[in-house]
């Protein structure tokens, strides 16, 4: 099981990359826990999570190949 995780805005600076491939995370909560273990600085940041471009508000089961994105507060315009 592998998932592409995208990072935007300030989160990209923290992680040092636009995307990572994360394996063996069966849910969004688990994935987040794994990423935060690797990048503890994310703990203090505000962001939303999108799975396949849909923002999720609760823990969500992940399938192989789902695209996850960590989205800091939007600042368009």
């Amino acid at each position: 099981m592998k998932n592409k995780v995208l990072f935007f805005g300030i989160l990209e600076d923290i992680v040092g990359s636009k995307e990572l491939i994360i394996s063996e995370s069966n849910s969004s909560d688990e994935l987040l826990k794994n990423i935060k273990k690797q990048y503890p600085e994310l703990e203090n940041k505000t962001f939303q999570i999108a799975v396949n471009q849909q923002i999720i508000n609760t823990n969500t089961t992940l399938n192989d190949g789902d695209e996850i994105a960590l989205l800091p507060p939007f600042a368009g315009g």
């Binding site: 805005g9 999108a50 989205l71 600042a75 368009g76 315009g77």
Partner: protein, 140 residues
């Protein structure tokens, strides 16, 4: 899906003029409402913003622009609308957002235009990095 809303670099005044001209054949329209977002040379701790670099979750942003468009057509009696937003670098004074709403009468064009801009701000996955002299930067 309609054509892309995200444009690399600033939105040129020529593009805006051309877009106005493109509507001259649509003679049922009586009102155009245009909103333009311009990059401000804000000051932070004594440093002045020289340019803003916009980045986007592009596929999702295009999808959201499309959804905003659908919702506006459903809610207001408008004839047409266009959204353009910059990605990449735009210098202070450059245009980074162009919203163009046209309708038969003026009232609805003001309301719809404001609604579009507010929805873009709230829902579109776009971020901006203010770049100061000497390439120092600050995420907004």
């Amino acid at each position: 899906m309609s054509k892309k809303a995200l444009i690399e670099g600033p939105i040129s005044p020529e593009r805006i003029a051309k877009s106005i001209g493109n509507h001259s054949s649509k003679t049922g329209i009586g009102a155009h409402n245009i909103f333009l977002g311009q990059v401000r040379a804000d000051k932070h701790e004594g440093k002045i913003v020289e340019e803003i670099e916009y980045s986007a979750y592009e596929d999702m942003a295009e999808k959201i622009f499309h959804e905003i468009r659908e919702s506006i057509f459903e809610k207001y009696d408008i004839s047409c609308m266009h959204i353009y937003h910059s990605v990449g670098k735009v210098k202070a004074g450059g245009i980074s957002l162009f919203v163009f709403v046209s309708s038969k009468h003026r009232g609805v064009s003001y309301e719809a235009s404001r609604d579009v801009v507010e929805q873009i701000k709230e829902k579109t996955p776009i971020w901006k990095k203010e770049i100061f002299e000497g390439e120092e930067y600050h995420w907004v």
